[in-house]
Symmetry: C2
Subunit: 161 residues, 2 copies
């Protein structure tokens, strides 16, 4: 199990998930950027991911289709804003391509990976929203539980890489 | 005077300003990216610009403060998403820094500069919005007249560079 650490939000409409993950940041970065690996941990089970397309570079599109246990599919289109190998990934759903506005800008995600020693990583995922309503909706959708479970699933997968 | 050309919007909530400008694209790019030059043409006169700060690179912030004839100031914070020298500039007001969400994402601007021969440039500025309401509001604020007047002012300035 990943270890929860205490990191406060920096911005007004931010949710933050901070963990020490027992895997080096190279493996975590790979699990975030290799579609076949991402599929195995990116949604809380028993949900699954039926499709992943990612063009991992600033301005590159991504599409992640999530599937619930009844087989309903939920496409999540977005774009990469910034990619620094093994260190940092920034994505947003405000665009579906470079630079096509999405139906609604809901959030921007900043992931930072820092070496925490002994092959572990300080893993901080910040979800930034454009207003308080969206932040609250995201929290009620189960941000902390969902992203926390995914962090644990990520740790398990990383151990196999 | 710059020459209006007929270019249709590509996206649903887009406004487009298309001109042939009698200046080479290097000078137009410079007029867009040098704060002291930008100040001289970027708002329709008699409005003025009291302050310009620009970090011209993907993820770099920009702040343009417009001033009306009564002295009221209107700050416009934003960010560069893409910069290709002499060819392409993409900005948005959805972020005020890398990657701080703004108060409200209103538009993304894609400017493309193409060589039109004889030292002229095919100048296309596309304003993309997240919904029809914002596109309509922008049009009513005088998008075509305002951006058109600015294109003429830009042409005049470029002739002096």
């Amino acid at each position: 199990m990943s270890t929860t650490i205490d990191v406060a939000p920096e911005l007004e409409n931010e949710l933050v998930l901070a963990r020490i993950i027992d895997a080096p940041r190279e493996k975590i970065f790979r699990a975030w950027t290799d579609p076949e690996i991402l599929k195995q941990w990116f949604v809380p089970k028993p949900w699954t991911i039926s499709k992943v397309e990612m063009d991992v570079r600033p301005g590159g599109s991504s599409l992640i289709v999530m599937r619930d246990p009844d087989g309903n599919e939920y496409p999540n289109p977005g774009i990469f804003l910034e990619v620094v190998e093994n260190e940092r990934i920034v994505t947003t759903d405000a665009f579906t391509g470079a630079w096509t506005p999405s139906q609604k800008p809901f959030m921007t995600m900043i992931l930072t990976l820092e070496d925490a020693g002994k092959g572990r990583t300080r893993y901080i995922a910040r979800a930034l929203h454009w207003n308080a309503e969206d932040r609250e909706a995201h929290e009620k959708m189960g941000f902390h539980e969902g992203w926390g479970q995914c962090a644990d699933q990520l740790e398990e997968i990383a151990a196999t890489l």
